[in-house]
C-alpha cells in the first residue's frame, strides 16, 4: 500500500469514525430529550397525584362541602398558578335549580374586582359561559383564551380584571352536578388534558363530601322528625290517658245513676213516672255505651281494639235510637223515619255499641245537613252476612271527589266545617264497620238523595235467641245469703244495697281489697263481689291474695267492673275471679249469680 493509498484509507477511516461519533451524539441527544420529557411527565404526574391525594384526604375528613371546596380551589390555584378560583353551587342544593355563587373565592381576601361583584349576579351566567357549559356537560372544560368569548359579559369582566384563560370542573354526585369550581389565570394557556382528567376524577371525590353532608342533614332531619313523632305520640298517649281517666270518672256516677234508676223502676211507680224512669235508663245506657266507644276508639287508634260481642235485639235498638233522635229532629223541623226490611224481632250477636255509634253518627250528621221541612230516613235491611243500614238525608250530598276523603280522620268538606264538629265521627264509623266485617260509604239512593250507608256482619245468637233464660225471679234466691261486697264508691255501695235488698241477703260492705281480705279472714261468705279499681288494694290484687291464702271457702268471686273489654275480663279470670258482673249492675244478672246451681252461670263467667 502506497503512502497515498494509506492516506486515503486513513481519511476514509476517519470519516467513518466521525460519522459513527455523529450518530452516537445524535442518539445521545435524542435519548436525553426523551428522558427529560419522561422526567417532566413523571414530575407533573407526581404533582397531580399529590394534588389529588391532598383533595381526597381533605374530602375524607371534611364534613362541610364548603370547606372542601375552599381547600380544593386553594390547592388547585397553587398547583396551576391560577390567580382566581371560584365556586358555584346549585341554588338550595337542589338539582336543576340553577347555579349561584357560593361566595367562595381564592384568594379569599380580594373580592372587590368587577369580575367578583359581577359573578354574584345570576343573570351574568349566560348559556355559553364556562360554568354553565360544565353544568350541562358534567365534565371539566378548558377555555384557552377568554378573548374568544368576548361576547360573553362575564368573559369581558374577566378580561378587564386581567384574566385570560380558565378552566372549570363539576362536583358530581352520580350524574348530578352539585357544584362547579372555576379557575382563571392571567396568561393564555392551551388545554392541559392530563389536568382535566385529574379534575374529572376529583369531581366524584368532592361529590362524596356532598353526599355525606346530605346524609348528615338527612339524619338530622330524621332525628328531628323522630323527636316530633315521639312528642306527638306522647301527646296522643296523654290524650288517651286523659280520656280513659275522664270517662272512668264520668262512668262511676253514671253507673250510680243507672243503678238507682233501675232500683227506682222496681218501686211501684205511676205509668208516667215509669216512662220517665225508662227514659233515664235508656238515655243513660246509650251514654254509657258511647263512653265505652270513646275508650274503644283510643284502642282502635292504638290498634288494640276488639269487638265487644253481645246478644241484643237489633229491631229494638233501631226503634230506641229513632225514638231518642226523633224529638231533636222535629225541633229542627225535620222528620226522622225508620224503614226496616227483613229484620224481625229476636236477638242477634254483634257489637251493639259500635252499631249504635255508627247509626248515631250518621243520623246526627244527616240532621245537620238537612234543611227544615225535609226528612231523614233510617233504613235497615238484612243481607247475606248481616245487615245494611242507610241514612238518607235531605241535604245536597257529598261531591264525588270528596267521598273518600271525608272518611279519613280530621278531613272535612267545606260544608262539614261550617256545620261544626271535629271530623272524627266518620273515621270512628270506618273503624267500627271494619271491625264488624262491614264497609261504609256515601252515594245517592235510587231517587238521587244523599245517602250514607254501612254494613256489618251479624252472628247467630249464642243464647239461642231467647231472653227468658236471663229472668231469675227474686223468689228463687235463697234467703239469708252472706254477701261480701268491696266497693270504694259510696253511690255504688248504695246501689248494691238497694239492688240486693229484695233478695234479703246479709250484705257486708267494705271499701277496698285489703278490707275484703281482712273480712274473709274473720268470717265465711257465700258470694264475694269485688270492684276492680279501689284505693289501698285493687280488686285484682285482692282476688290473687284470697286465692293464694284459700280464704274464699268455696264462695265464688265476681268482679264488678265497667271495663268489660275482652282482655280485661281475661285478666280478671286469670287472677282467680269466677266471673264478671258489668256495671251498671243488671238485677237479673245479679240474681242469677245468687241463685244456686243448677242455674246457668253468667255467660261472661265462662
Amino acid at each position: 500500500m502506497t503512502d497515498e493509498q494509506a492516506a486515503v484509507a486513513g481519511a476514509t477511516e476517519t470519516r467513518r469514525l466521525e460519522q459513527r461519533l455523529m450518530r452516537e451524539r445524535a442518539a445521545r441527544r435524542e435519548a436525553e430529550t426523551i428522558a427529560e420529557a419522561v422526567t417532566r411527565r413523571l414530575f407533573d404526574q407526581q404533582r397531580r397525584l399529590e394534588l389529588m391525594q391532598a383533595v381526597a384526604t381533605a374530602a375524607n375528613y371534611m364534613d362541610d362541602p364548603a370547606d372542601a371546596y375552599r381547600f380544593s380551589i386553594e390547592r388547585i390555584c397553587e398547583h396551576t398558578g391560577c390567580s382566581v378560583g371560584h365556586v358555584w353551587v346549585m341554588a338550595d342544593d337542589q338539582p336543576d335549580s340553577g347555579l349561584v355563587s357560593a361566595g367562595i373565592w381564592y384568594p379569599a381576601s380580594s373580592s372587590a374586582t368587577p369580575f367578583h361583584s359581577g359573578s354574584t349576579m345570576p343573570h351574568l351566567i349566560p348559556e355559553m359561559s364556562l360554568p354553565h357549559r360544565v353544568l350541562v356537560q358534567g365534565r371539566a372544560i378548558w377555555s384557552e383564551d377568554l378573548t374568544r368569548e368576548a361576547d360573553c359579559p362575564r368573559a369581558r369582566a374577566a378580561l378587564s380584571s386581567g384574566l385570560r384563560a380558565g378552566f372549570a370542573f363539576p362536583v358530581l354526585v352520580g350524574d348530578e352536578v352539585a357544584a362547579v369550581l372555576e379557575f382563571f389565570q392571567s396568561r393564555v394557556a392551551p388545554a392541559d388534558e392530563a389536568l382535566l382528567e385529574t379534575l374529572d376524577r376529583m369531581a366524584s371525590i368532592l361529590g362524596r363530601v356532598v353526599e355525606r353532608h346530605r346524609g348528615i342533614v338527612r339524619l338530622q332531619q330524621n332525628y328531628e322528625l323522630a323527636a316530633q313523632r315521639d312528642a306527638a305520640e306522647q301527646a296522643s298517649q296523654a290524650k288517651s290517658a286523659f280520656l280513659a281517666v275522664t270517662s272512668h270518672e264520668v262512668r262511676t256516677p253514671l253507673n250510680a245513676v243507672l243503678g238507682l234508676a233501675e232500683a227506682l223502676g222496681r218501686e211501684s211507680l205511676t205509668p208516667s213516672q215509669k216512662e220517665l224512669n225508662d227514659g233515664i235508663l235508656e238515655a243513660g245506657g246509650m251514654l254509657l255505651r258511647l263512653l265505652n266507644a270513646v275508650l274503644d276508639m283510643s284502642k282502635i287508634e292504638a290498634g288494640e281494639a276488639v269487638p265487644l260481642l253481645d246478644d241484643f235485639d237489633l229491631a229494638t235498638t233501631l226503634r230506641s235510637i229513632v225514638s231518642i233522635w226523633k224529638p231533636r229532629a222535629l225541633d229542627l223541623g225535620i222528620e226522622l223515619r225508620l224503614e226496616v226490611a227483613g229484620i224481625g224481632p229476636g236477638r242477634v250477636r254483634s257489637d251493639q255499641g259500635r252499631i249504635e255509634q255508627c247509626l248515631i253518627n250518621l243520623i246526627s250528621n244527616a240532621i245537620k245537613f238537612t234543611p227544615p221541612n225535609a226528612e231523614v230516613i233510617l233504613r235497615a235491611s238484612s243481607t247475606e252476612a248481616g245487615a245494611r243500614f242507610e241514612v238518607i238525608d235531605g241535604g245536597v250530598g257529598v261531591p264525588e271527589i270528596d267521598r273518600d276523603r271525608i272518611f279519613r280522620p280530621f278531613e272535612q268538606t267545606q260544608a262539614g266545617r261550617k256545620a261544626g264538629g271535629a271530623g272524627l265521627g266518620l273515621s270512628i264509623c270506618v273503624g267500627n264497620t271494619r271491625m264488624l266485617g262491614g264497609d261504609i260509604g256515601t252515594d245517592r239512593d235510587e231517587l238521587g238523595r244523599s245517602r250514607f250507608w254501612f254494613t256489618c256482619d251479624l252472628l247467630p245468637c249464642e243464647e239461642g235467641g231467647g231472653a227468658a233464660t236471663e229472668e231469675v225471679a227474686v223468689s228463687e234466691v235463697p234467703r239469708g245469703l252472706r254477701v261480701l261486697a268491696a266497693e270504694d264508691n259510696l253511690a255504688n255501695r248504695r246501689v248494691l244495697q238497694v239492688l240486693l235488698a229484695p233478695a234479703e241477703v246479709v250484705l257486708t260492705l267494705v271499701e277496698d281489697g285489703a278490707q275484703a281480705v281482712e273480712a274473709l279472714r274473720g268470717a265465711r261468705f257465700d258470694l264475694i263481689l269485688m270492684d276492680v279499681n279501689m284505693p289501698v288494694m285493687g280488686g285484682v290484687e285482692a282476688v290473687g291474695l284470697i286465692r293464694a291464702d284459700g280464704l274464699a271457702n268455696g264462695a265464688p268471686i265476681y268482679m264488678l267492673t265497667a271495663n268489660a273489654f275482652v282482655d280485661d275480663v281475661e285478666r280478671y279470670l286469670a287472677a282467680g275471679a269466677d266471673g264478671v258482673v258489668t256495671k251498671p249492675i243488671n238485677v237479673a244478672e245479679l240474681f242469677r249469680i245468687l241463685a244456686p246451681a243448677p242455674s246457668a252461670p253468667a255467660a261472661k263467667a265462662n
Partner: protein
C-alpha cells in the same frame, strides 16, 4: 419499532461482522443510523436495514431476520440478564414471553407495541405458539426461540405450522426442546 431492537441489530452485526459492516448497511439503506433505546423509530427503517443486509449477505428477508433473532439473544442476555436468570430452561423462557418479558418491556418503554403470543401445550407436549403481529416478522420470532435454545444449551425443534406469508390469518409455531445440558459458564 423500539430503538432497542435497532441497538440489538447493530450490536449483533458489530459482533459478527465488525462495525464497518454496520456502517455499510446504514449507507446502503439510507437510514439515519442514530438510535437510542429510549426512542421509537419507523418500522420502515428496520425493513430498509434488513433489505440492505439481505442484499449484502445474499440471504432472503426471513433468513436475515432469523439470523438476527439468533444473534440478538446473547446481546439481550447481557443487557437484561434478569430476563434469563428467572427462567429455568428455554421452554420456560419462551412461556414467559407475554407476562414476563413483554411486561418488562412495557415498563421500560411505555406504549411499546409488543406482539402477542398465544401459547398452549398440545397433546404431544409440544408448545404451540400463535404469533399475531402486523409486522410479519415471524422469522425473527423463530430466531429468538432458537437463540434462547442455544443460550440454555438446548436444541430446539421449531416447526412453522402455518404462516401469514402463506395467506393465513396468523402464524403458528410448534416447538419442543431437548433436555438442557449443564451450563458451565454464562454466555
Amino acid at each position: 419499532m423500539k430503538g432497542v431492537v435497532f441497538n440489538l441489530l447493530e450490536e449483533a452485526v458489530d459482533r459478527a461482522f465488525g462495525p464497518d459492516t454496520w456502517d455499510g448497511l446504514i449507507d446502503a439503506s439510507g437510514v439515519s443510523g442514530a438510535y437510542t433505546s429510549l426512542g421509537n423509530y419507523p418500522d420502515e427503517e428496520m425493513e430498509a436495514l434488513v433489505a440492505a443486509a439481505s442484499e449484502a449477505l445474499a440471504l432472503d428477508r426471513n433468513q436475515v431476520l432469523r439470523w438476527f433473532g439468533q444473534n440478538a439473544i446473547p446481546v439481550l442476555a447481557e443487557l437484561y440478564p434478569g430476563f434469563f436468570t428467572g427462567a429455568v430452561d428455554a421452554r420456560n423462557f419462551v412461556e414467559g414471553i407475554n407476562h414476563i418479558i413483554h411486561a418488562e418491556v412495557r415498563k421500560l418503554y411505555p406504549g411499546a407495541a409488543c406482539p402477542h403470543f398465544r401459547l398452549h401445550a398440545d397433546s404431544s407436549g409440544d408448545l404451540v405458539m400463535d404469533y399475531l403481529s402486523t409486522r410479519n416478522m415471524c422469522a425473527l420470532a423463530q430466531g429468538f426461540v432458537e437463540g434462547a435454545g442455544a443460550w440454555y444449551r438446548q436444541s430446539v425443534d421449531f416447526r412453522h405450522v402455518q404462516c401469514t406469508q402463506d395467506g393465513h390469518s396468523h402464524c403458528t409455531f410448534a416447538m419442543n426442546w431437548s433436555a438442557p445440558e449443564a451450563r458451565t459458564a454464562a454466555a
